[in-house]
């Protein structure tokens, strides 16, 4: 089978999978106890979005490190593609999380450490693109944004892991953590849908990412030929 046919097959498989996930989230998974109405179902979309935002961050880091080593423009394109997708998914994750918080606890924002860390990720992506916009020269843009991405990656764990530890020790009575804590008491059908959704969203990310990288490769090849 040619590459193109494999790709088309995978695309359709992804479409079917995600339609099944959506239907499963609404009809197959039972209503969760302790949640207001059906609001828990948003978790099936919210958690994978946050996961993809972090995944995109890791892909960005790897591509940035590779760029710093190889100075290949394609690696810079990879980093930018991952960051673009990461921005989209972190916005989605923040919005869905906020909607969920509003239904559950009647306020759009609670300053829960996990909520704050997804916003920080969003700010990092936004800053990354602000930096890219500010540099007209391509090579300099690539190395500066790669440097910033690595710097940001080093500082991120502190918010995700260290601050919650301090936070909890000073404030033992804060609100319950976000939906990540649910996993332990999850109904098996809910777990199935959640895992299926995770796989589906990861597949979606892979597809969109490879599309962008392929496009970048074509553009670079074309630009290379125009110069020659």
């Amino acid at each position: 089978m040619t590459r193109a046919r494999v790709r088309t097959l995978l695309q359709w498989a992804l479409c079917v999978w995600l339609v099944l996930v959506i239907l499963g989230a609404f009809f197959y998974a039972p209503s969760a106890l302790g949640f207001k109405g059906e609001s828990a179902r948003i978790v099936f979309f919210h958690v994978p979005q946050a996961w993809v935002a972090v995944l995109a961050f890791c892909v960005n880091l790897v591509a940035s490190l590779r760029y710093l080593r190889t100075r290949d423009a394609l690696d810079d394109a990879r980093a930018a593609a991952a960051a673009r997708l990461g921005l989209v998914f972190s916005v989605l994750a923040t919005v869905t999380g906020s909607l969920f918080a509003n239904v559950m606890w009647n306020s759009f924002w609670n300053w829960d450490p996990r909520e704050v860390s997804i916003v920080i990720l969003l700010l990092i992506y936004a800053a990354y693109f602000a930096l890219r916009e500010a540099v007209p020269d391509e090579e300099r843009r690539a190395s500066l944004s790669a440097a910033y991405a690595v710097l940001a990656f080093v500082t991120m764990p502190f918010l995700v892991f260290v601050v919650p530890r301090i936070y909890w020790s000073l404030h033992p009575d804060t609100i319950i953590g976000a939906t990540g804590k649910l996993k332990l008491q999850m109904d098996s059908r809910m777990l199935q849908v959640l895992l299926g959704s995770l796989v589906g969203f990861t597949g979606l990310f892979c597809w969109l990412y490879t599309l962008e990288v392929r496009l970048a490769r074509v553009r670079l090849a074309r630009a290379g030929r125009e110069e020659a």
Partner: protein, 229 residues
């Protein structure tokens, strides 16, 4: 071949920064004035009596760091941007090795921050009626916080100086990186204000020291890349 050591070159860069700064005092004035203005505005409107007793620990710690960060942002990026503006950057690249430049400018920012803290913090405590019980803990927290903030800011300043150099870009890039630090500093200050034991600030201190350390280590790798572009 270089006859000078890394240490001597770093000291030389630091000396150059201090000399040029004392000559024109631009960063000092900006940082000091921003800090003082914000402090006076806050102290005048809020003062020691307008905050309720139960809110005092949180608000006073948070307000202090808002003032300090706001003042710091106005001056910390100068250290690289002025080189690009005055077109002395190329000479500096030839004159000193990159790590020496990083070390010298990092130390300069550290001194600038320490001066800001030494100026604003006692004034704030006096004007706002902030009674800090653990003065030693607070001093330790301020010192470690200054190191961490200087590390992050110097690296970000190096990046934006090679971009557009604007303070806005500096603020945009540093906000996500400095937010965890800010949170830890505010919590640490609250803990230090509340008790004399150093143990109270230890959790925050651990976080701040590791953040500063990690940033310094990664800067050693990243700075030459950014500097020699």
């Amino acid at each position: 071949m270089r006859a000078s050591t890394l240490l001597s070159e770093s000291v030389a860069v630091l000396g150059k920064e201090l000399t040029s700064e004392l000559r024109s005092r631009v960063a000092l004035n900006a940082v000091g004035l921003f800090g003082l203005t914000t402090l006076i505005a806050v102290a005048y409107q809020i003062g020691p009596y307008r905050i309720q007793e139960q809110d005092r620990p949180h608000l006073l710690a948070a307000l202090l760091w808002v003032i300090l960060f706001f003042a710091a942002t106005s001056g910390l990026s100068r250290v690289f941007v002025k080189e690009e503006d005055a077109r002395t950057a190329k000479t500096l690249r030839l004159a000193a090795r990159p790590l020496a430049v990083l070390a010298g400018k990092f130390l300069f920012n550290l001194i600038l921050l320490s001066a800001l803290y030494a100026f604003i913090v006692p004034l704030y405590c006096a004007l706002m009626g902030y009674s800090v019980q653990g003065i030693a803990s607070l001093a330790l927290l301020l010192a470690c916080g200054a190191v961490a903030l200087s590390a992050t800011s110097t690296m970000v300043a190096a990046i934006i100086a090679r971009a557009s150099g604007s303070t806005t870009l500096f603020a945009i890039l540093s906000v996500p990186l400095v937010l965890p630090l800010l949170v830890m500093l505010i919590q640490g200050t609250r803990a230090a204000a509340g008790s004399t034991a150093i143990a109270a600030v230890l959790p925050a201190l651990r976080g701040i020291v590791s953040l500063g350390g990690a940033t310094l280590i990664i800067s050693v790798y990243l700075f030459p890349v950014v500097w020699h572009d």
